[in-house]
């Protein structure tokens, strides 16, 4: 029983760690797509952010400066996307694809040039990265059975990013449904003409949305290189930007369901990591790759309308052109 509990605690702990960048990136995608701009470059922006954070933290020794650089880099990429697709009505998919590929090459190129470590950034010392935070009394309570263990292992001892992310979901939901910004954001993704006739600048709304997208992707990237790990590693996003996109679709572009989808994907990953090679009753051994494919298979199934149709914001992907 106790063994089971500690396994459970370990899995939940891992779920939180793995889901953090997914949730941040998925929320980033939520802002872009709710405003009517498709963004398949969550991956690229995260990777760019991870590199900027790793590089600047290594150079300055400050994790916070690294975070700032990550946000700047990611917002800059989002602004290129906005310039191409909002201002000049370029194809949002092509632009996103370009961004993903550009960063996949640019980050290791700059890394190699600056640090000569084969594209990585140098390993970060303790000051240059975000360390787990121990909440008050966590150590004292660690020995208390069950509750103490849950508190000290699951609730305490995470990176600041984990707490920021858990707060970001209700904040996003509040912004989206209770604020003027959210109202206009949702409107511009559904019917930009209605927003225009209401006297609101459609283009500026979409730029604002993409700025938020950039910030969140930057934070997610910084988490990867200065929180979860201690350096930027080539292709360290490894498809997490696309898993986030899948979660966003699976969560039907709503904050809480999107978070739950991220939890589900991360949980499956954590369980899989713990149970690797374990022969379970009835199901047998679950192959790793089955868990890897799960987010994508589920998203296709949802997109095809086999379990509850997932409908994108109506103006998504369509540039807004006013004059005929």
């Amino acid at each position: 029983m106790l063994e089971f509990l500690s396994l459970f605690v370990l899995i939940i702990d891992a779920t939180l760690r793995v889901s953090t960048p997914l949730i941040l990136a998925a929320l980033a995608g939520l802002f872009a797509e709710r405003s009517g701009v498709f963004d398949i470059a969550l991956e690229g922006k995260m990777l760019g952010g991870a590199f900027a954070a790793g590089a600047v933290a290594a150079a300055t020794g400050s994790a916070w400066l690294g975070l700032g650089a990550a946000v700047l880099a990611s917002v800059a990429l989002a602004m290129v996307h906005a310039y191409a697709c909002v201002t000049h009505q370029g194809n949002q998919i092509i632009s996103g694809m370009a961004m993903n590929i550009l960063i996949a090459g640019l980050a290791p190129t700059l890394g190699l040039a600056w640090f000569s470590l084969g594209g990585q950034t140098p390993a970060l010392g303790d000051g240059a990265r975000f360390r787990p935070i121990t909440l008050p009394f966590a150590d004292a309570l660690a020995d208390v059975p069950i509750l103490g263990e849950i508190y000290s292992e699951i609730i305490s001892g995470h990176n600041i990013f984990v707490y920021i992310t858990l707060a970001a979901v209700p904040i996003t939901a509040w912004f989206l449904y209770r604020s003027r910004f959210g109202l206009r954001l949702r409107a511009v993704g559904e019917n930009p003409e209605a927003v225009d006739t209401a006297g609101i600048n459609v283009y500026w709304m979409r730029y604002q949305a993409l700025i938020v997208t950039g910030i969140l992707c930057g934070v997610a990237g910084a988490y990867l290189s200065t929180g979860q790990n201690a350096a930027f590693i080539r292709n360290m996003t490894a498809g997490q930007g696309f898993i986030a996109l899948a979660a966003l679709i699976f969560g039907k572009w709503r904050p809480v369901p999107t978070m739950l989808a991220c939890f589900m994907f991360a949980f499956a990953d954590a369980v899989q990591a713990r149970l690797q090679g374990v022969d379970l009753p009835i199901v047998g051994v679950i192959p790793v790759q089955f868990v890897d494919a799960l987010p994508f298979v589920l998203t296709v199934v949802v997109l095809a309308g086999f379990i509850g149709k997932s409908v994108a914001p109506k103006s998504g992907g369509i540039p807004y052109v006013k004059e005929r």
């Binding site: 019917n191 927003v195 006739t197």
Partner: protein
Amino acid sequence: MNAAREVPAVPVPPALELRGIEKWFGNVHANTDVSCKIERGTIHGIIGENGAGKSTLMSIVYGYYQADAGEILINGEPADIRGPEVAIAHGIGMVHQHFMLVNTFTVLENVILGVEDDFVLTRSLEKARTELNRLEREYSLEVDPDALIEDLPVGLQQRVEILKALYRGAEILILDEPTSVLTPQEVDQLFRILRALRDQGNTIILITHKLREIMALTDHVTIMRQGAVVGHVETAETSREQLAEMMVGRSVLLRVEKKKAEPGAAVLEVENLHVRDGLNVRRVNGVSFQVREGEILGIAGVAGNGQSELLEALAGIRAVESGRILLRGEDLTRPGAVRTPKSMRQLGLAHVPEERLKMGLVESFLASESGILGHHHEEKYTGRILTRGRAILDDVARQMKAFDVRPPDPSLLTSKFSGGNQQKIVLVREIDPNPDILLVGQPTRGVDIGAIEFIHRRLIEMRDEGKAILLVSVELDEILSLSDRILVMFNGEIVGELPQASATETQLGLMMAGERLPAEAAK
């Protein structure tokens, strides 16, 4: 008389005055020197046919488009309306023909969009709820403020649009074709609301092409034609006939020389046809008629009264809800019958669609490719695997020459040809296989005078060869000069049939505006 009235008070300036408004879209002169005055506390109608420039004019007043020249005065003060937000600040509200509502939002959310008081919505929503309650009581504008727009019937959606405008403090309310989507009962309710609004001192501008509405509701009318104002009248001092005449105009008719038709057997018979559009709205509602050999049957009507859906159903593009279509006596709507565009062509039915750029051609294709659209699978154009490139070029070149397409070069891009020449490419493609019946929609829309004459002559020649032609057009001139019999469609129904000889523009204009044909006139 009351003394107060005699005092030469400062004259009340009109609520809205337009002076010399000009608007171009590319080469299209949408508004030409438009001037008009709209008095406070009145319902002012603006009437005109499709494309007369009414909607463009009102979009300029609302700041959605900017005028190229001219002046707008509100309450006598010049106003520079650079955007909708400026119009709203000047107390102008607009109910667009296509509602500007966010379907996934509640009524309240739509009402406050763009005029939220604070960053946090709570207070704005509460304020709007109170205000909506007040408006509801004052003008009997009942709507559930928490209902989602997509769950509301169109009549109520329109009410939300009116509430939106009033909530923004509109004193001048513009309604663009507000009744086109409403049931008669909803129309009555709308009129009651509009009268109540006027009686409270608001100014209403009603854009419409329906004479009945003008007569029933307005105080003054401005008549527009081809982008310009052709007259202002007091509603009380005019008649439907006069309005219809002004609306349609007395432009010189392009009469075509033709002999009397000698109609033969019926080629196409339509019985009690019902058709729904892509949004599942019934657009054709119990239509019956026949088209016979050697005659041109014209269908007149304002655009959007079901003619497009009728044509598409006959051409095999659109499904039929109920009713029958018979071609040479064969029921094509019986269970198991094949009725596709391809099969219809094979049965000798050709179709020139209403919108050549949307449907009839592919602009990015070469003329030779556009010239075989729908016929591309025929043996003369393709072998078992490869298309016969030479044969296609030669055949399309021959067709282009036959119809005097300029330049007669099939290897040019379709988009390089003028509207008239593009239309000829479509027309010759459909006529060349020698069909028994031709469905033709708006054959001369956006076509120059020379090509119009050419196209009209060819259609008459076809008729004289004993072919059946069904002509759908919103151009009365065209209907009158080509048709042997004329049907008028309104709201998905045929409101009457006139022989060409006895049809007048005024009469057609009345029917197009929904007047049923008086029984004696039909004889």
